[in-house]
């Protein structure tokens, strides 16, 4: 307990003014530049998606044997990034980790936007995307329900549940702040919009009491989802026969990897935003340090997963498994991706043992970026490289992406940033009411001199 989680004890009015003031601020030149770039990339996304749907999935690099490639890599990557948000807001809330307060809103928004990107891919990668709803159990006239032994309907259910609960949780947390925004709105139009969203919140004690229980219940609902969603995503692979997929370690391995990459993305976003908005007293080195420590822990679990996978491949004495892990991945097609994964996820992660690295935001930003890259590579290795080297040597084939694959990925990054930029302008990205509450608690514990 070295560093404070709220530096300098700003007054309540000060917090209110600064945190709630962010949506009212005019966008500067930097904001507009970022908006223009991300908007352009979003247009690229629309073009690539249109091309895919009108011409066929053959415009991608997918082939047989590599029937799933970048689309599924990006699906898993984005879903993984989405994990930190719910982890911070639900699990850390239940464990009464007070340092979560200043970054939870932010992380929840990141979750929602990341899940939105992720949800694009399972639909787009279908041969006939217009029939995606056949994976949902709806009362169809054909009376054919999804085939529930397949992991894909579980996936559809898990992602829609996760998105719905994350959205509710995020919105629920926003209600008191929306009411504040309504009360301080400079224009009538804003007052009406924020007023409608605030659902008539007046902030009396009864409302707060109910609000607190509801928030706790939602946190309780969201907590198992953090673990279940990526477990189910991992089943898409683990229930298959493919050497490199057929493994019982996948659910915990995937969950750890998801939280690992999620915290990396939180840091990637929070470090620049903190600098731009001058939020050093609210998001203190303590927060950054805690995120880095969580990255280290989950990163080590991921490293343990690598060791177990390789050991089991060797121990199984199965020709296909051994080839997959000791020849196909390190020396086969696209092998540089495998080595990049090891360097980033195993090598770079060890830097986080050092306090100096965890306290240096510039270095930590680079580390977080590299871990994002490493986790992308991990998904590529698991999905694409496993399929490249399966059971039948006669059907071994490499994989090369096309410009459409790359365009869609760049497009989702653009769309993600675009949503985030709009969020920063329209809503307070730090939970104001919770911060004020935290200030009260802190002031009560150690009265300021």
């Amino acid at each position: 307990m070295s560093d404070p989680i709220l530096a300098g004890m700003p007054s309540e009015q000060e917090l209110q003014r600064r945190l709630l003031g962010t949506p009212a601020r005019r966008g500067g030149r930097g904001w507009w530049l970022a908006f223009a770039i991300s908007g352009a990339l979003t247009v690229v996304l629309v073009i690539c998606v249109t091309h895919t749907i009108s011409t066929g999935i053959g415009t991608w690099g997918t082939t047989i044997p590599v029937g799933w490639a970048l689309a599924i890599v990006h699906f898993v990557w984005w879903i993984g990034i989405g994990h930190a948000g719910t982890f911070i807001s639900a699990i850390l809330y239940l464990f009464e980790q007070r340092w979560r307060t200043s970054i939870n809103r932010f992380a929840e928004a990141m979750t929602l936007f990341a899940v939105l990107q992720a949800a694009l891919f399972p639909v787009l990668h279908l041969g006939r995307p217009w029939f995606f709803y056949w994976l949902m159990p709806y009362p169809a006239v054909m009376k054919v329900w999804p085939q529930v032994r397949s992991a894909l309907p579980w996936d559809a259910a898990a992602i829609t549940t996760y998105f719905t609960v994350s959205l509710l949780f995020w919105f629920m947390g926003l209600v008191p702040d929306l009411a504040s925004l309504r009360d301080h709105a400079p224009t009538r139009r804003r007052r009406i919009i924020y007023g409608l969203l605030a659902l008539g919140w007046r902030g009396d004690a009864t409302a707060w009491r109910h609000y607190r229980s509801a928030y706790l219940v939602l946190a309780g609902l969201a907590t198992p989802l953090v673990l279940s969603v990526h477990s189910i995503v991992s089943s898409d692979f683990a229930i298959g026969l493919t050497p490199g997929w057929h493994s019982t370690i996948f659910p915990p391995f995937f969950v750890a990897g998801a939280i690992f990459s999620g915290f990396a993305m939180v840091l990637t976003l929070v470090i620049p935003v903190r600098a731009v908005f001058g939020m050093h007293d609210v998001i203190t080195p303590r927060h950054i340090d805690n995120c880095a420590k969580l990255m280290l822990v989950t990163g080590l679990i991921v490293n343990y997963g690598y060791i177990v996978e390789m050991f089991m491949a060797w121990y199984s004495a199965d020709a296909a498994e051994r080839y997959q892990f000791f020849v196909g991945r390190p020396f086969g097609p696209n092998a540089p991706v495998f080595w990049t994964m090891l360097v980033c996820n195993v090598g770079v992660t060890q830097l986080l043992w050092l306090r100096r690295v965890r306290r240096n935001v510039a270095v930590l930003f680079v580390v977080a970026l590299l871990i994002n890259v490493g986790m992308w590579c991990e998904r590529f290795v698991i999905i694409v490289m496993s399929l490249q080297r399966e059971f039948m040597p006669s059907k071994w084939h490499g994989y090369t992406p096309t410009w459409v694959d790359v365009g869609i990925f760049a497009g989702t990054i653009g769309f993600f940033v675009l949503l985030f930029l709009v969020f920063l302008r329209l809503l307070p990205f730090v939970a104001v009411s919770e911060m004020k509450e935290l200030r009260r608690e802190l002031a009560h514990e150690e009265p300021s001199p």
Binding site: I64, Q147, L152, A156
Partner: protein, 479 residues
């Protein structure tokens, strides 16, 4: 009329041209229906293979040393012959039996010759002789003669060859002088590299349960060597109750399969299988429901090849079925793994989970009708639209046709009545199909052989298609 009959009856013209070889109308119609003229078969000739060790040794003495001047040999293409079939897309996309090259030819050579010329697979080699010049990519073939290059004819057509043949491969014919072997050609490696469109890139078995070859002496000494590669695996699941319907199955003898690939074309014609072009093959998107896997094994006498026709194995415990989220691939009571194209949304999970990699996906709208393609199509087989998965059905349309005929006649399907397209085209009868209940057929008898195995048996998929291992009999291979 001076110019003769303005609108002659075509049928009458054909009959008149053929003369009276068919006699009356009845014989004529019977001949048309049968497709052969009665009584014109050649008399069978009794042949006996000659094993002449002295001759083989004499031939071995003729082998050219590997440092001799490199000779160039021209050969006919196994797919397009001398080029007369070059405008046929099926044959252009038919993989070469040994190199698996489609859409073009190559300078075939041994690994040592490639090293000598300092070329790798796909590097363009320029060959000049007299005023003629041909540039084709180099391709290493295990077992090719040393200091020798083979180029297949029938490629490199100009506009007259037709729209499909134009510009595919290189035309080696102008190199030819008297005789097909040339020792005075100038061979030069260029710096240009091309990606050869091949349907198979790896020819080693890598200890997988595929493409078994056994030395004859070894097989005689250990006839049960493959016993663990077939039959039931330990399971906790209850055995399926015996079925009253006929259970369809296939047995393929890889000893007598020559890799000729007639089955592939027969399957393509029967099942409306599209062609994807060279770029599609490079991306690994060829649509053949039946392919021929070739595995090369080193023996004291040089590399030995086994061809394994690979089609949907119709697994009893099919890995594709449980991963399909929409019930598009399911099991029929008569043991077929069936595709319901209308239900397929195209997740491709089934293909990822198929260890045999026999499922094919419609990456683009391959079903766009062109006049000739529409005329060619088999009306009994559904044409698949963009975005759905497809694969071998054991020619289910022929099975259902036989069932209908049997029901109308009030009888049962006779042994050997249902013949798949691949089986029908196989010149060595290596492919046998039928019902497991018809015990007095080769298909069932073969399954009891000591050299029978299930491909990737260990996975427990219980394939209905079984293979008989190749037995090779080479000098110097003893148990």
């Amino acid at each position: 009329m001076l110019a003769g009959d303005a609108a002659p009856d075509e049928r009458a013209l054909v009959r008149a041209a053929l003369g009276d070889r068919f006699g009356d109308d009845e014989t004529w119609h019977a001949t048309l229906a049968a497709g052969v003229i009665d009584g014109t078969a050649e008399a069978p000739v009794a042949v006996r293979p000659r094993s002449d060790a002295a001759l083989i040794d004499a031939l071995a003495d003729l082998l050219v040393p590997s440092d001799a001047a490199i000779e160039v040999t021209l050969a006919r293409s196994p797919a397009v012959e001398d080029g007369r079939f070059a405008n046929n897309p099926w044959l252009q996309e038919l993989p070469h039996p040994l190199t698996k090259q489609t859409w073009g030819n190559a300078a075939l050579m041994s690994a040592a010759t490639a090293e000598r010329l300092e070329v790798v697979d796909g590097q363009v080699v320029e060959i000049k002789r007299g005023g003629a010049r041909v540039a084709v990519p180099a391709l290493v073939v295990p077992g090719h003669a040393e200091a020798s290059i083979t180029i297949e004819l029938g490629y490199g057509h100009t506009a007259e060859g037709g729209p499909i043949a134009r510009g595919v491969g290189g035309n080696a014919a102008p190199l030819a002088g008297a005789g097909a072997i040339m020792r005075d050609a100038k061979i030069r490696a260029t710096s240009r590299r091309v990606e050869i469109a091949r349907t198979q890139l790896e020819f080693g078995r890598h200890d997988r349960e595929v493409g078994y070859q056994l030395a004859l002496a070894d097989y005689r000494a250990h006839p049960a060597r493959l016993a663990e590669r077939r039959g039931d695996l330990p399971t906790l699941l209850a055995a399926r109750p015996p079925s009253e319907t006929l259970q369809w199955a296939m047995t393929i003898d890889t000893t007598i399969c020559t890799g000729c690939s007639a089955c592939m074309i027969a399957c393509q014609a029967e099942n409306n299988v599209p062609v994807v072009g060279a770029e599609g093959v490079r991306r690994g998107r060829e649509m053949h429901w039946l392919r021929i896997d070739t595995y090369v094994e080193d023996t004291p006498r040089g590399p030995e090849v086994v061809h394994q026709p690979m089609l949907c194995q119709q697994c009893e415990h099919a890995p594709c079925e449980y991963v399909c989220p929409v019930f598009a691939t399911t099991h029929s009571p008569d043991g077929l793994n069936e595709m319901t194209y209308n239900r397929c949304v195209g997740t491709r999970f089934c293909s990822n989970n198929c260890p045999y990699k026999v499922r094919r996906f419609n990456w683009f709208a391959y079903d766009k009708p062109t006049t000739t393609a529409a005329l060619q199509r088999n009306p009994n087989v559904t044409v698949r639209e963009r975005g759905v998965m497809e694969k071998c059905t054991y020619c289910v349309q022929r099975i259902r046709g036989a069932e209908i005929r049997a029901r109308m006649a009030g009888g049962a399907i006779a042994p050997g009545e249902v013949v798949t397209a691949c089986q029908q085209a196989c010149p060595t009868r290596a492919i046998q199909f039928g019902a497991l209940q018809h015990e007095d057929t080769d298909m069932v008898r073969w399954r009891a052989s000591g050299r029978t195995y299930a491909t990737l048996h260990e996975l427990g998929t219980r394939p209905r298609t079984l293979y008989l291992a190749k037995i090779r009999d080479l000098d110097g291979e003893d148990a």
